[in-house]
Amino acid sequence: MRWLVIAEWRRMVVGLVRYPIDTIASTLTLFLVFAGLFYGARYITSSPIGGGRLSTVVLGYTVWIVMMAATGDMAWSVQNEAQNGTLEQVMMVPWNAVWVFFVRAVMAIVGMLVPVGAVLVALLAMTHVHLAWRSAALVPMAMVIGTAWGLGLLVAGVALLLKRVGQVLQIVQFLLLFVIVSPVAVLPGIGWHLAAMAIPFAAQVFLLHGLLTSGATATIWLWVESLFNLLFMLASGILLFMGADRLARRQGILGHY
């Protein structure tokens, strides 16, 4: 496992260092998209946006960026590598492919941590939202990252079979942005709680919000939903990827594009 991590770490660092303009431009784009939405909404409603809802939106957007890093990178990586011919070499290494892509998803998120941190700081400054740091927030943060890994594997599995999933993925990602910041997890009724367990990040965002915003609370329900969602997404990602790998080898379509 050490060698796998070393190999993917090196590849990620080289990509970030050799093409810094790419990294800076993508970070700036993430900030500008939010700024556009924020000031656009203010202009349309003619009133300042604030309060608990804004802090939820800021946190939700940040989580969404993490999710984008994991899923987008995995989908594009599989698609590009199938097109470029390296995918078959990757699938020939003496590791279970699920580990290779798991480590890749980890590296995609690790590579995004600094840019995501920078975007979060800029968003907080722009919106005047104040977050109160609590070490307990590390747990839901880890849950967010774990859920993103699961989602990344799920997307990688679909991309192994279908290859060109980029456009569909973009639609799904923007739908998820809406779902992530919507209050599914805190709506009353068992149906909403069950939905929050299945929808990635829905509960974790509100759990984070509860821990990082003074005055808000993190209920036991949010903890249960967040944990269940993490396990559900991880298990789904791993199982779907393993199934897709088997199917792709059986159909002989690993190298197809």
Binding site: T86, Q251, G255
Partner: protein, 310 residues
């Protein structure tokens, strides 16, 4: 070393199920080059990919040193290197050295050893000076050499080469050929597919020709060529034949094919026919006397009934 046993694979298409490979078996020993030849769609690439573990066979198995790919996947794939057809096999935005170190680490080669191996291999293909250039800046021939180095970073005893010289210029092809020769000399078992039959003939110790997913001919290259060579002798004169040639050749199984050439088909007479012919032609000056030797292109044409290559 490498044993492929009764590999079978069919694919579902819109028009039904198509058998791509039908019970292919062969062996490649250490230090041996097996040329795996066949027309497009014969099942070569599917067989290579099954051997590499990229396509799961419906039936059959691949064994390296007696261990099965099906039951020891990681152990077997750790002992196989491959340069696949049409693939770039490398990350274009990484340098040559970064690529080699990446693939070495992916195959569990320790850092210091992988650097030594990378330098050694690049030196061997005269690319050490380009170690820190990105792959996208290299010529196609250089990229193919780096792909070969990549496949060798974990020092595999088995090397799969699917069309390694496709699209390369003469010089690059020669260089790849030379390296394959050296690798076989070092004890690596090489499975090679190519449409360039002259290259196969030069490199291969043995050949296997596939058609419609089945091996239709297999054997030592020299033996296969002998088997398809006709017992024909061509005689080329140093100057045009004399006017009384027909009279001199009476009773011999000879066909005059040109003003200064003729062919002898000895038949049951064997060597005696050649001696008789030479005696009757004397003292007419001859340029050369050649026995017919088949080449792989002729063998291929006879066995498969289709021309291959450019």
């Amino acid at each position: 070393m490498l044993r492929v046993q009764d590999l079978t694979k069919s694919f579902q298409t819109r028009t039904g199920r198509i058998a791509a490979v039908r019970g292919i078996s062969f062996e490649v020993q250490a230090g041996e080059v097996l040329a795996f030849l066949g027309p497009n769609g014969a099942g070569k690439t599917t067989t290579i990919k099954m051997t590499a573990g990229l396509v799961r066979p419906d039936h059959g198995d691949v064994l390296v040193d007696g261990r099965s790919l099906a039951s020891h996947h990681d152990w077997v794939t750790a002992r196989i290197g491959a340069v696949l057809e049409g693939s770039r096999n490398l990350y274009w935005r990484l340098t040559v050295m970064e690529n080699l170190l990446y693939w070495a680490a992916m195959r569990r080669v320790p850092g210091r050893l992988s650097r030594e191996r990378a330098s050694h291999l690049l030196d061997r293909v005269d690319l050490l000076a380009r170690a820190h250039n990105t792959v996208q800046t290299l010529s196609r021939g250089m990229q193919q050499k780096v792909a070969l180095c990549q496949a060798l970073m974990h020092h595999p005893p088995v090397l799969l080469l699917d069309e390694p010289t496709l699209g390369l210029d003469y010089e690059s092809s020669e260089s790849i050929k030379e390296m394959v020769r050296e690798l076989a000399h070092d004890g690596i078992a090489v499975l090679l597919t190519t449409h360039q039959l002259d290259i196969a003939q030069e490199l291969a110790d043995r050949v296997a020709i596939v058609r419609d997913g089945q091996v239709v001919l297999e054997g030592q290259t020299a033996a296969v060529l002998d088997r398809f060579s006709r017992p024909l002798v061509q005689v080329v004169a140093a100057e045009p034949w004399p006017a009384d040639l027909d009279q001199r050749l009476l009773g011999l199984p000879v066909t005059v094919t040109g003003p200064d050439t003729l062919e002898l088909l000895p038949g049951d007479l064997g060597e005696r026919a050649l001696y008789a012919l030479l005696a009757r032609l004397a003292p007419h000056p001859l340029a050369r006397v050649e026995r017919h030797q088949a080449d792989l292109a002729q063998v291929f044409l006879e066995v498969v009934g289709t021309r291959v290559g450019p």
